[in-house]
Amino acid sequence: MNDKDTTRHQAKRNTVLDPPCGALLPAEDGIEAAFVGWLKEALNRNIFDALLIPVEVPAEDSFAYLLLQDAAILESASPLPPVMPVQGGKAISRLTMRGNGNKRIAVVVRPCEARAAVELVKLKQAHLDNLWLITMDCPGALLLSDYLEDPAAGAARFAKAYADRRHPSEWDREPMRPVCQICNHFSLRQAPVSDLHIGTLGSSDGAVFIIPASPKGERILEDMDMPVDAALDSWAEQVEEAEQTQTERRRQAHTELRETITGPERLMDVFSNCINCHNCQRACPMCYCRQCYFESAALKLPPENYLARAEHKGALRFSPDTLLFHIGRASHMILSCVSCGACEDACPMDIPIAQVFSLLADRAQETLGYVAGGSLEEPLPLVAYEMDELHQVEQPYVEIYHKQEVQDA
């Protein structure tokens, strides 16, 4: 039985992306331009029929996912925009929740968006059969509110922060969202769920890697007549190094954060500014329920209920159940949380919710040996039945009741 447990824990470890070689894409005129040019060529050559990609909105003050098949519209596309206004996993789910379409669509998303899409597939809210996921090494995104204060300045700040795409040690993570600053899944090496990955890390001057991460991805490169012969050692090295740095950063940040949220009093304090708008839930790619329990008729109670609860403590915060909502949400989606930060971007009260949830997610996923968005094959822990697991939780029960049960029997 213990073997089974170990197998499950090993499942994720076996999915590290380690292809020896990738294709090289010349990028003398900038990485974005080269990538968009490549997408345009692929579209023209009918490698795929359409693209889902962030495109600048008409007022030039943000970006939106656009499904397009006209290569001309690609001019205003931005494969890695400075902000993440809508989580790409959510966009993928909107497009494919009812099934696989007829068109072959390439989707350009951030790594955390691809991982969210994978979770949504497992939750039967998305279908990837006719999609090609293309990701890039990601430096993070700016806080939406910071960016919107002055979009042009925001774009410049973003570009400057990671001007050196090849060396993550040179990236300035300070302007990025707090949860991006501690992200250790910024590449796809540990969670190769996309079909193609643009590796900027460790690339040499004037070129980036296009890394096939699935047979579908390999076929694209083949159809594009791109030889897959560039060694990826330098990429893997840089990614691994940055992963270590980021994991340490994350650990430190979480240790500090834990101090501030442990215990009901402190937890209450963190969420005390919450105005119950539930916007975290709406922006969250994992909160796919059409009707959240906390907005349902179940919680609409007669006034005497509220008054009795108020009487109990002298006062009842209104509307009630603020903290319960966050705890309820966490217990429902935390195993699939990809720490994308969409919730924090959407919070009008600046609650560090993505940071808190990233800590909870790491702990919960570690406990069940699961990595959200790590692989399509690994079943969701709450769906998979394991005879032997979580002994640390059930031990007290055995100690206290087992003897009694045997006696009673």
Partner: protein
């Protein structure tokens, strides 16, 4: 779906170009000339005393009011108070704070959705919250029974940001200084600067704040209804008639100076609610409103320009007191499309935004709720994309309401325009 959207803008533009009728909508209702009751205590203190006494005497079973959350950042939230001590000088309740973490109209709807409370509950809310609640009552989402509604002549509220970054506390002296002079601090919500309805309608008790130079030392309560008068009347008799009065703090004198029940209320009433300061503020806000509305980009192009950065979170709808639907059409199955739908749109237009319905959602929401929009400004405050939602919705709201000669929250017996059939109306649209 978007093709329906394109057929709307021309009507929209028509609706927004009705300045002559706009004036009519913003003029003061004439019946608001109730006599006031002068109290030799500051407004804040009077409110605390009144509410504490109401709770202590058991005349109300709870009070919905703003209170401090006690967190490090000086957070504020609405609470349903049952403990009278919350209203002592060192208590957590701060009933008159210029802040609106939620529109209390929604909260009163939540409280009374399943029926009125068995015993009276008092609520201290802003005029637009009260108007929102009246609309919700008309929409069968709440009940006015057994509620004591207390409001004030409003100097506006600060945006939610200020409650987060701690600036709220710092700005308060400035706020009250402005209010005393009948002015507004220019940092209040833009929609407050442009508010035409800052004198509460349908409040049982109105606390005069705007232009009350002495509001730290004395205040005037306007008892607009018999209910309001009855509750205050009872409080007045407290110090002399009820046992246990000895346990009240000495600062209860202010309440003691209220008229006794035998004396009757009439003889002590003086002054009028509609002062010169109120009139002046009306004209100032009217000017603000015109300037604010002039900045709105109209037509479909304008909507696309303004709402292009919308992230589709629908937070505006969630916090809107009028958007009471448990399930919005735009969050429903009706808006979950098959991939073939998107592919069809793609063939037709060359590009489709995913998720879709960005502008359509706003137009749909406008069509559904603008006639009841009270211009509270919650939608702008929560928008993660910094879209001035409330400015746009107020502008459309004012125009639509003028079209139907309707004023949300004016009168609970006034039928909602979309529910009344008038054989002859809107001739200009029909032709």
């Amino acid at each position: 779906m978007p093709e329906e959207a394109t057929s709307l803008p021309s009507e929209l533009e028509g609706a927004t170009s009705l300045p002559s009728e706009l004036e009519g909508a913003t003029s003061l209702p004439s019946e608001l000339t109730v006599k006031g009751l002068k109290i030799n205590k500051g407004a804040e203190e009077t409110m605390r005393e009144l509410l504490r006494s109401l709770l202590e005497s058991g005349k109300v079973s709870g009070v919905l009011a703003l209170g401090r959350t006690g967190n490090a950042g000086g957070g504020v939230a609405y609470s349903l108070f049952t403990d009278p001590d919350a209203f002592r000088a060192d208590g957590v309740a701060i009933p008159l704070l210029p802040f609106m973490p939620s529109n209390a109209g929604s909260l009163l709807s939540r409280l009374t959705l399943k029926g009125p409370p068995a015993k009276p509950v008092a609520a201290v809310i802003k005029p637009c919250e009260l108007r929102a609640f009246i609309e919700l009552v008309k929409l069968n989402q709440g009940s006015l029974d057994n509620l004591l509604l207390i409001s004030s002549t409003c100097g506006g509220v600060y945006p939610l940001d200020l409650g987060v970054n701690g600036e709220l506390g710092e700005r308060l002296p400035q706020y009250w200084e402005a209010v005393k002079h009948g002015e507004l601090d220019d940092q209040v919500r833009p929609t407050c600067l442009a508010c035409a309805h800052f004198v509460p309608e349908n409040a049982d008790i109105t606390v005069a704040l705007m232009g009350e130079a002495e509001l730290d030392a004395q205040c005037t309560l306007y008892l607009n209804t018999e209910k309001g008068a009855a509750f205050v009347d009872g409080v007045a008799s407290l110090p002399s008639d009820v046992d246990g009065v000895a346990s009240l703090p000495s600062d209860v004198d202010g309440v003691a100076s209220l008229p006794s029940s035998e004396g009757g209320l009439e003889s002590h009433l003086s002054g009028e609610l509609e002062t010169e300061a109120i009139q002046r503020s009306h004209s100032q806000r009217q000017v603000h409103q015109e300037a604010l509305f002039a900045g709105v980009e109209v037509g479909l192009k304008g909507m696309i320009h303004t709402f292009g950065r919308c992230i589709g979170c629908h937070a505006c709808k969630t916090v809107c007191p009028i958007c009471y639907c448990r399930m919005c059409y735009f969050d429903s199955q009706g808006c979950e499309h098959s991939p073939e739908f998107y592919e069809g749109e793609l063939e037709r237009k060359g590009g489709v935004r995913v998720p879709s319905n960005t502008v359509f959602f706003q137009l749909g929401r406008l069509a559904h709720m603008s006639v009841s929009c009270v211009g509270c400004g919650m939608c702008t405050d929560v928008c993660p994309a910094d879209i001035p939602v409330s400015t746009i919705f107020s502008k459309v709201g004012v125009a639509v309401q003028a079209l139907f000669d309707y004023q949300p929250g004016r009168d609970v017996t006034e039928e909602l325009p979309l529910r009344t059939f008038a054989e002859e109306e809107l001739a200009q649209v029909a032709t």
